[in-house]
Structures are given as structure tokens and as C-alpha cells.
């Protein structure tokens, strides 16, 4: 079973994002350390679990513009592109894609949107922008939107011939959630959103998936393969990997593909763009009505009112029931029945 996992490298969600309002972009986006999008980590975990039970390989697909390592002065990844090999000291680098390999993926395929020369080393740790936000072709920023990225990924999956595709539901930075539905539409595959567990059924032609719905409800569905599944951040804990696995991961190269390898042209992809960013602004919180206590009241009353949001001012005397516990219980049942919470006798 060939399982593809679509991964996006995003700025670390714990970092603060500063806006440069004049230049209409995020300050220092290119220098922010990138991590794997949290939802994609959950998707990868589900993929590895399916692989363990049903066998097969897990291939990670990621789209971005990858900066040559030499340009940044830090030697990082190994690029195995068309037979060329070059090693460097990588163990100290917080390479997010390599960690994915260590947690159970078999291959990583990076689709580079900038014109990367084949025999250059590629960095995917600090400073790379695997972001579908502001990308660079070396000279000017490209504004890539989710529809374009999803189209490229769909083509990559079609070329890989994947039986099963796992994606994160939304990315941390743009958060459109378009990738999985677009892949499902373009490749005509069934789609199951928000999975909590996925098990391959015997026969390998279908998958039993437990999906999360609203308000704590779940449903159990059977999806015919090939299909697309999404996972939300936190629905699966990424597994612990031991150091030998990480070392082995650094021996594996990251395959870099160009758009021409996929049979697409940049012009075709740009033609798929559907939105253009106009401007960024700091979020304006919605005005919320805050309760202000009457200033003529004594301070302890005001404090109590402020803490409870005005509730204690409501001088509602509850209907009090005293006495026999059985009688009280019967009163409660009657009350609940009157209000429609319990069915009437």
C-alpha cells in the first residue's frame, strides 16, 4: 500500500508574528525557524499506524521553495537528486523533515517551486520558507495561494500512484484547509475529514475510519481506497523516535522534484491562482460588552459584581425546597420533566 502524507513546513506556532504594516508582510518570515505543521504530524502518525498494520510505504510530499544550504552558510541536508550525493554534518540541525523520516516515513519528496539547480544542497531547517505565503524565486517574492499548492500536490500524488493520502486539516499559517478537498476533487477520490482512527480492512480495498463530527459525536465509515483522509492537530500523538532512527534518517536523502518533473509549468500553476493578498493588519478584536458595576455601590458589592459579571446583582430568589429528601427528589424530577429535559411519565 502506498501511503502519501502531505506536509507543510510552517513557522513555529509558538513564535510571535510581527507585522510590517508598510511592506504589507510578516517581519522576518524567511528567518523564522520552521517546523512541520502540527496537523500534518498527526496525519503522519495515522499513516505510520496504517503502514504498521497493513504494510506498504509512507511517502512524505511537501511543496515549497527550498533555499540552497550554501547560501545560508550552514551545511544541512543531503540532496539526493538524480544520483548526485553529498554529505555534510547534519546531526545538530533541527531538520523537521528528517524527524518525519525518523518517526516512520520511508521517503521524502520535496517539490521545489523555485528554480533550484539540481546539484545544489537543499536546506529544510532554519530559514527555509516551505511556506505557501511569501515565497521567493531568488529575486522577487511570489505570492502562492493554497489552490496552487493543492494542484501541485495532487499532481505529485497522481504521479506517485498513492493508494491512500493523509493530510493535516489546516495549516498553521494560512489555514485554508483546501489541500485535502482539492486533492479529492482533482483525483476523484472519496474524502473523510477529521479522523480519529484509521484501520485497513483485510483485502486492502477499504479502510475503516472513525470520524469526529460536531459536539462530541463520532461516526464509523468505510472508505473505498484510494481515498483522502485528514487529521486535526492533536488527534494523534507523534511517536517517540530513538536516536539511531534519527541517524538513519540523515543517511536518507530528500528527493527534490521540479515542476517539470511533474509535468506542470509555472504558468499553468499561476493560472490556478484564485485569491490575491491585499493587505495584512493586526487583528481587531470584536468589541464585547463588559459589565460595569454601578459606582455608587459599596466596594465589596462592586468587587463581587465585577467578578461574577453581574450575575449576583440579579436578585432572583430560587424556588427553595426544604425538608424530606424524597420529596425534594420528586420535586426535582417534576421540574426536569416540566422543562423538557426528562421525558414525562
Amino acid at each position: 500500500m502506498r501511503i502519501a502524507v502531505c506536509i507543510k513546513l510552517v513557522p513555529n506556532p509558538r513564535l510571535t508574528i510581527e507585522l510590517d504594516p508598510i511592506a504589507r508582510r510578516v517581519k522576518g518570515l524567511r528567518e523564522l525557524p520552521t517546523v512541520v505543521n502540527p496537523a500534518d504530524l498527526a496525519a503522519l502518525e495515522f499513516a505510520v499506524r496504517v503502514k504498521e498494520r497493513a504494510g506498504g510505504e509512507v511517502i512524505i510530499l511537501t511543496v515549497g521553495s527550498f533555499v540552497p544550504a550554501n547560501a545560508l552558510g550552514c551545511a544541512d541536508i543531503v540532496l539526493k537528486a538524480r544520483g548526485l550525493r553529498d554529505k555534510a554534518d547534519r546531526l545538530n540541525s533541527p531538520d523537521p523533515l528528517r524527524r518525519c523520516l525518523a518517526t516512520g516515513a520511508d521517503r521524502v519528496v520535496a517539490i521545489c517551486l523555485n528554480n533550484l539547480r539540481r546539484n545544489q544542497e537543499v536546506n529544510s531547517g532554519h530559514g527555509s520558507s516551505g511556506l505557501a505565503g511569501i515565497l521567493s524565486d531568488g529575486f522577487r517574492p511570489l505570492n502562492i495561494d493554497s489552490m496552487m499548492v493543492a494542484t501541485v500536490l495532487a499532481q505529485g500524488i497522481r504521479q506517485l500512484g498513492a493508494d491512500l493520502v493523509f493530510c493535516g486539516d489546516r495549516s498553521y499559517d494560512q489555514g485554508n484547509g483546501l489541500v485535502a478537498p482539492v486533492i479529492a476533487e482533482l483525483l476523484d477520490m472519496p474524502l473523510a475529514l477529521d479522523c480519529l482512527s484509521a484501520t485497513a480492512e483485510s483485502g486492502d480495498r477499504s479502510l475503516l475510519v472513525r470520524r469526529r463530527l460536531q459536539r462530541g459525536e463520532c461516526e464509523l465509515v468505510r472508505c473505498m481506497l484510494p481515498c483522502v483522509l485528514t487529521a486535526t492537530a492533536g488527534s494523534a500523538v507523534p511517536r517517540y523516535f530513538a536516536l539511531p532512527a534519527l541517524i538513519d534518517a540523515f543517511e536518507t536523502g530528500i528527493e527534490a522534484l521540479d515542476l517539470t518533473d511533474l509535468g506542470l509549468s509555472m504558468k499553468e500553476i499561476i493560472g490556478r491562482r484564485t485569491t490575491r493578498l491585499l493587505w495584512l493588519n493586526p487583528p481587531r478584536p470584536r468589541t464585547k460588552k463588559v459589565f460595569i458595576p454601578d459606582s455608587s455601590l459599596p466596594p465589596e458589592v462592586r468587587a463581587s459584581l465585577a467578578m461574577s459579571g453581574g450575575m449576583t446583582q440579579i436578585d432572583k430568589r430560587a424556588r427553595l425546597v426544604e425538608g424530606d429528601p424524597e420529596q425534594a427528589a420528586a420535586d426535582v424530577i417534576q421540574f426536569l420533566q416540566d422543562k423538557g429535559i426528562l421525558p414525562p411519565e
Binding site: 459525536e217 427553595l320 425546597v321
Partner: protein
């Protein structure tokens, strides 16, 4: 340039989803700028429909209905195809849907199929020049971005609970039209085998319909076990005050109050809770409130609808047996207090010092 606004009036368990009213409010706000007409699309299988005039009361000028038995099984694929046909026929400028499991998927697949612009969780839509622009939050709410739609129709989703519903002064015309589309035969590639109802024990307190809060008056672990039994019968979530947390009965996620969760269930039962103002702040949006306390002057009684003055240790067993009689519940054993399970460890926690998760991850 005027055009239509199409609103997806999705159904959830036989009623219109609450987000539909919010969508129609937004559409009514945008009608002067964008559209000439607001169309609400109702897609249903063979289940019963709610009152359609609800849609026109909130501003729908036309109500397009499509009912087909294939929608019972193949919701997602069937809906996309019908909506795509409707868009092709009526050519709206804006298509609105709610950011719900059904609506979100519909909107995204629709925009993929039509190759048109998509914006999730919009805050504001405006017209800039000739095209529509939508404002939304990115980076998990840290930055606001305004994007312009290069293709029309713009498909946008609205997060439920954000917009305040405002009924228009003059309701919409509400003309009901049948949407005549032959849906494709259901391919049955995603087959729903079982629907699992929400499990109140593992559900988050915010989502529960009924919540029982335990306070100091509960007193002992045995009494708390009885309270959990009560919750099981009522299918309620169990939360507690700081006292309950200190005694180790509830986990920090189930703390109700200003420093914990602020909940708004349909029914809240406060058992042995005095009603300090920070706890009341956590439950002020609850629907009905019942309180049990020995002190008839306890503050909790000022905010509850029904109050029982008595000892929890006597009232609670009476309540449990009464409710078992009403719901004809046959399980008689009350197990010991269910131990708390922290998500990443198997440590069961019962100390008096609150949060004992050692942070190993």
C-alpha cells in the same frame, strides 16, 4: 454590478443549523452592496424539513429546495454536484456556507470543482472596485489578512457563533422553488456504518448539554461516586469547583469557573457548591440551574432556578433512586470513583495537591 448571494441552509438533525441564521444575517448586510437577491439552498434527503419561513424571516428572498433519497447516504458528493449545478444556473457572486463538518467540506469541494475563490472563516466581506474582498485571520488568529477574489463566485465559510444574528426589519420574499437537478447515482465510496453518540464522560465540558458541578458539600469519595452515577444516568458531564479539584475528584480541565472553564449547558446542577462569584461567572450563560446546599443563604441560590436546601449525602441518593425509577435504569452497582486519566500518561491521580502530571511527555 449586482448579483445574487447563495446561502447554504444546512440541516442538522431535522433543524436548520444555528449558523444558517448567522449566514443570512451577513447576507442581508451585504445585500445593498453586492446582491439583488438572497437565495437559500436547502438540500435534504427523505427526512422531515423544518419550517421554511424561518429562512425568509432572516432575509431569504428565494428558497431553493432539492430533495432526493440519494442524499441520505451520499451527502458530500451529492451536495457538491447539486450546488455546482445551482451556481451554474443562477450565477451568484457570493456563496456562503457555515464552517461545519458538512458545510466546510461542501464549500471547499465546490470551489475546487468550479476553480473559484475560497475564503474560510471570514470576518468581513466588502466590495473593492469590481471584485469582492474578504477579511480573515491567519497564523491562528494573530494576523488579519484581506484577500481579493480573482474568480467569482467567491465561496466563503463563516465560523458559527461569531456573528450576532439580526433579523431584518422587512423579511425576505421567501419564494419557494424546486431545484430540479438529477443527482448522480450514489457511488457509495464512503459508507457510514455506525453513528456514535457523544460520550459524556470523555466529552469536553464546553460541549455537554447537561453538566453537574461538584463542590465541597459532596464531602467524600463515595458521595462523588454516587454523583458520577447520577451523571451517567442523565448523560451529563461532570465538573467541579476548586475544592473538588483539590480533593482529586476532577481534573483541571473540568474546573468550572473564572480560572477554569466557562460553560453554557442547557442544565447545570450544582451539588454542594456554595456559589462564590468566580464560580458563578463560569456558569452565568447556562440555561437552567439547580442547586443543592445545606445553607439556605448560599449565594448559589440567588442564581438558580430551583434550590434544594438539604444535605447532599441525603438528597443525592434520593435523587439517584428517583431518577432511576423514571428512566427505568437497571444498573444497580455504583462503582468506586473512576480514576482520572491524564491524556499522555497512565498515572491515576488522587492526591490532594491538584495537578500531579509530572510533565513527562
Amino acid at each position: 454590478m449586482t448579483g445574487r448571494i447563495l446561502v447554504s441552509a444546512e440541516l442538522h438533525k431535522g433543524e436548520f443549523s444555528p449558523v444558517v441564521a448567522e449566514l443570512l444575517s451577513e447576507a442581508t448586510k451585504l445585500k445593498p452592496a453586492i446582491g439583488s437577491e438572497i437565495q437559500a439552498v436547502v438540500l435534504a434527503g427523505t427526512e422531515g424539513l423544518p419550517r421554511l419561513s424561518l429562512l425568509s424571516e432572516h432575509g431569504a428572498d428565494t428558497i431553493l429546495i432539492c430533495r432526493d433519497s440519494s442524499f441520505n447516504e451520499c451527502k458530500a458528493e451529492g451536495y457538491v454536484q447539486v450546488m455546482a449545478d445551482a451556481i451554474g444556473r443562477y450565477k451568484p457572486r457570493l456563496v456562503l456556507a457555515g464552517e461545519t463538518p458538512v458545510g466546510g467540506q461542501l464549500a471547499r469541494r465546490l470551489s475546487a470543482r468550479l476553480g473559484t475563490s475560497f475564503v474560510p472563516d471570514f470576518i468581513r466581506i466588502q466590495v473593492i472596485g469590481n471584485s469582492l474582498a474578504a477579511t480573515r485571520l491567519i497564523y491562528n488568529g494573530k494576523v488579519g489578512a484581506t484577500v481579493t477574489a480573482l474568480r467569482e463566485p467567491l465561496v466563503a465559510t463563516l465560523k458559527p457563533g461569531v456573528v450576532r444574528v439580526r433579523k431584518p426589519r422587512t423579511p425576505g420574499a421567501g419564494k419557494v422553488e424546486e431545484l430540479v437537478v438529477t443527482p448522480l447515482p450514489c457511488q457509495k465510496r464512503v459508507e457510514v456504518l455506525k453513528h456514535l453518540a457523544a460520550d459524556p464522560e470523555s466529552m469536553e465540558l464546553n460541549q455537554a448539554d447537561i453538566v453537574i458541578g461538584a463542590g465541597k458539600g459532596v464531602g467524600s469519595a463515595d458521595c462523588f461516586a454516587l454523583l458520577q452515577e447520577f451523571a451517567r444516568i442523565l448523560k451529563a458531564g461532570v465538573g467541579g469547583t476548586r475544592r473538588a479539584l483539590d480533593m482529586g475528584w476532577v481534573s483541571p480541565e473540568d474546573l468550572i469557573g473564572q480560572t477554569g472553564k466557562i460553560i453554557s449547558p442547557r442544565l447545570y446542577i450544582a451539588v454542594g457548591v456554595s456559589g462564590a462569584s468566580h464560580h458563578i461567572a463560569g456558569i452565568r450563560d447556562a440555561g437552567l440551574k439547580i442547586a443543592i446546599n445545606t445553607d439556605r443563604n448560599a449565594p448559589i441560590f440567588t442564581v438558580s432556578d430551583l434550590g434544594i436546601v438539604g444535605d447532599v449525602r441525603q438528597v443525592l441518593p434520593a435523587l439517584v433512586s428517583a431518577i432511576k425509577a423514571v428512566t427505568r435504569d437497571d444498573r444497580s452497582e455504583v462503582s468506586k470513583v473512576r480514576p482520572l486519566q491524564y491524556p499522555d500518561t497512565d498515572i491515576t491521580h488522587n492526591t490532594g495537591f491538584g495537578h500531579a502530571n509530572s510533565g513527562l511527555h
